[in-house]
């Protein structure tokens, strides 16, 4: 057996628990689907915009789906703690970081499933994505790194708050407020000046700009952040920001788990 075999076991456990509650798979998908299938077409009609706007919003809804899903995944940490299962895992001969990484791997898989479902719905509605292998690479890289960072935030929060109610009360502030500021529905340059500056520091702004660059070939989001000539350089810089966000939040989440789970 390899050193990573226990990590695979922990991922398998989390996956088995997740599949027993299909709500966890479907509920986070409802709001983004509503945006992609109902709100975006309605906005297009009301604002007299074109299909490009629908594509813009379709990618923007990924920026809502990822935080919502990863934050809901974090609830499983509190459930494990409340039903005692966490103690059995803490007594297992596996590094404590694996307990976090096992949850993360399933949160990533479920989020990927939902993002793919969202993209397929958008394609079915006739939204046109202009992408190639490189573009898909930027999209996947941004999506995966952003999801890792958001799960780190979810795990950290779940280990800091004692009850599910308190956790859920904080989800809107973490998952939804940044979405309004990060250029999901309109370019960040449409915000008041100081909020445009705030938006440039949000990992989600970088993630969305990268995903649009990758999936739509639209580099305007990157330009609004960096104002540079080279699209590739801007994309690399934004990917770096999202990577730092992912690495930092994962490290913090493991540290917070280790400190709080052990009394």
């Amino acid at each position: 057996m390899t050193a990573l075999a226990p990590l695979a076991t922990l991922s398998r456990r989390r996956f088995q628990l997740t599949t027993r509650t299909p709500r966890e798979l479907l509920v986070p998908l409802v709001t983004p689907m509503l945006f992609a299938l109902v709100i975006a077409p309605a906005l297009k009609e009301a604002l007299h915009t074109g299909t490009a706007y629908e594509a813009f919003v379709a990618v923007g809804t990924v920026g809502l789906l990822v935080p919502l899903n990863t934050m809901f995944s974090g609830l499983s940490v509190i459930v494990d703690r409340e039903n005692g299962a966490q103690r059995e895992l803490l007594a297992a001969p596996v590094p404590r970081s694996f307990l976090v990484l096992g949850n993360l791997s399933v949160a990533l898989a479920v989020t990927a499933f939902q993002v793919v479902a969202l993209i397929l719905f958008a394609l079915a509605r006739g939204i046109d994505f202009h992408t190639g292998a490189a573009g898909l690479g930027w999209f996947v890289g941004a999506g995966v790194l952003f999801a890792i960072g958001m799960y780190g935030m979810a795990e950290t929060l779940a280990n800091r708050v004692p009850k599910q109610e308190e956790y859920i009360a904080r989800v809107p502030a973490i998952a939804i407020v940044p979405w309004f500021l990060a250029g999901a529905l309109f370019p960040i340059t449409a915000l008041p000046g100081f909020l445009t500056w705030v938006a440039r520091f949000l990992p989600l702004t970088h993630g969305l700009a990268l995903m649009r660059y990758g999936l739509l070939g639209d580099a305007s989001g990157l330009e609004h952040i960096w104002s540079m000539g080279s699209n590739t350089a801007m994309a690399a810089l934004s990917l770096g920001v999202v990577a730092v966000f992912a690495a930092a939040l994962t490290a913090v989440s493991i540290r917070v788990f280790a400190r709080t789970a052990l009394r």
Binding site: A5, L17, E88, A91, P93
Partner: protein
Amino acid sequence: MIEVRQLRKVYPGDVEAVKGIDFEVAPGEIFGLLGPNGAGKSTTIGMLTTTIRPSGGTARVGGFDVAENPLAARRVSSVVFQEPVVDRSLSGRTNLELHARLWRVEPGVARQRIAELSDALGVADLLDRAVGDYSGGERRRLEIARALVSEPRVLFLDEPTVGLDPRIRHELLEVIGRLRAGTDLTILLTTHYLDEAERLCDRIAVMHEGRIVALDHPQRLRHELGRELVELHVRDDLPAALAVLRAHGIPAEDAFSVGSTLTVPLRDLSAGEAIATINDLGVATAISAREPTLDDVYLRLTGDRLAPAA
């Protein structure tokens, strides 16, 4: 197999739950930690299973220091916690298989162990049901089977029978008693059921307010109270009654009380002589004599001692 030296735990707020305890458990021994709620028993098990961080001292499980080599200490041990610790939505079999994988038991060996243990513990017919549908006793037996799947050298049982009805408790005690048959499994269990400790344990340590206040074989602890004791239901205040007894030659240094009942271990005095004297003094509404039990040892060590005040 277990060595504990000056082990301490101080929780935030300066709450000292364990105050520097020492003990050793030999291979194959069943060792009991007794004490009232809050005595520090579960905290001690938590530190030995590396789920609670010690504040001081050292502890070794299977030769491995729990602070310096926690993974190795966890690999040679298993624990059944006081509260239910299972994935309720998963089947019993899946819970056992997950444990086996985490402890790196080869799949073929794990399958065989699961079949043997589920038979031995009477849960074979339940294995494919969700654990949420199990009764308390069934779940507890599954947890013991799970702890044994990895063939641990050390098994920690934290109040294994708490909350179970008497029949299931009796069955479970039989199961625990059989566990070490043919193996050198070392068991450390905590309980506040004294009959359990007397029935199962080779040695017991009584914990009180974070300290070990007695450690010996159950029979020896009982014999410390002499061959007989008398129980008095006292009419007035206990210290005054005790003072009267002492003034009339009744040896009351080890006396202890529960409610209005005063229990006086007799050393050299016979029960007949003691009862006759006490009857003449008129301090008791009822008197009886009997042999000491482990309950008396426990109550004397963890309850209100009256002698110093008398």
